[in-house]
Amino acid sequence: MTNREKYDKVFIDCFSVEKSALNDKFVYQCVTEWDSIGHMGMIAAVEAAFDIMMETDDIIDFSSYTKGAEILSKYKVVL
């Protein structure tokens, strides 16, 4: 699996959405599954998928599908 596929799979699994929903409009609280609890689960899944530990600010800033990809580059994860 490519990094992009792994990243997409986290969103698809955590928020029960189709791949086609994943674009720059997919943001925090845009689906009921992505609430504060869903956010915590998604962050844990991203960390596990890429074997990283994110900083507090990055966890909170991780507010959209697009923003998340930018943040991952800080952890040397290239999508």
Binding site: C14, I37, M40, G41, E55, T56, I59, I60
Partner: protein
Amino acid sequence: MDFYNDIGAFGSSTAVITEDSGRITYAELLAAADAIKDQVRDRCLVFSVCENSPGSLAGYLAFLRGRIVPLLLHNCIDRGLFETLLSTYRPAYIWLPREKAKAADWGREVFHYGGYSLLRTKHEPDYALHDDLALLLSTSGSTGSPKLVRLSYKNINSNAEAIAQYLGITRTDRPITTLPMSYTYGLSILNSHLLKGCALILTDKTLMDKAFWALLKTNEATTFGGVPYVYEMLKKLRFSRMELPSLKTLTQAGGKMSPELVGEFAAVCGQKGARFFVMYGQTEATARMSYLPSEQAISRAGSIGIAIPGGEFWLEDESGSVIAESDTAGELVYKGGNVALGYAAGRKDLCKGDENGGVLRTGDMAKRDAGGFYYIVGRKKRFLKLFGNRVNLDEIEQLIKSAGYGCACAGEDDHLRIYTSEKENQAAIKSLAAARTGIHPSAFEVICLESLPFNEAGKVLYSALK
């Protein structure tokens, strides 16, 4: 002493800090409350759809000051359930966010303030309200039933005063909201701080929102409360490394948190110079029944502590006799001025007076240590028999959680279902449960979910686990 009347004395002090860091004084808040109150005039039933906002708070104070009885409901309440409640209770008015009022045909707007509308419904009361009845809340176990808890003026004042006393709340405290106002724990934080003339920072933003932390820091919040999952989030956010010098007091209630996590937060708070209080309560007791003094938080991690000032605990065995020995489990019974009048299943119950006489059978099983501190060991009805063995679902949950796996348990005799989002660890969870209980693994089924269902108060929604 009625705090909602007495707080007029705080006049020019700040009562509310809004999401955009605006200030509202006690005098301004009470002027708004009294304008709302004057529209309603007669004692009647009102549905109040709550946010953590000035409009919502002004309405709540208006109703208490005017002896108007509100039912507090969460703003995200399912529309079908809301309409069921409307037809069951037939309130004379609804106080709700304006955009919500415009989207439905529940009544005619007669007043508005702070983004809220007061709607006069078409209902004419065909029921009476008991003189002592102050407030209605739904129980936090949200099963979608119209069953409500009836609280008195004495209940609200007595609990607010007890909480302010044991937490040592002073006028310089400044809570930031992390819980819905319609939820008994969230409401108790507002009541106990209003009593002392504190400024309340009102927001519906969550811990996972950047704006929440900015608001907390800018306005130097001193305290907030959290249910267990809030503390799991704080841990994920590496709370121990955050710089939040204004925080002085954290409280935890709304469910049993693992002793490991309690110990961890007690230690972290100690390092930060803050106090950490574990507390216990139910809507049926207005909010709080006990607290663990913060200096005991590490040594007695896992305890719910001692009864609040003015309250009393004892344990009863299955025959109803009081258990005198320590370390013996029995049903936890509470007595105090904060025990609700009773339940209501419909509007005809609103004329009923006190049915509990100040005594609440909690339905929780507990034991008491030799020092007089109480520990919840389970809920009376959450038991299963597995191959003849009596098994407590809460204890199974705790044992799996303490191994690091989030879960919720349900089931029938000889079939305990463990719901988890730990896809990779299904087999490990099953063998752990079997090994720790000594019961054959075929009694356990591990079911994987994307996430566990929680209600808006952060408690596991067992009714959704079928």
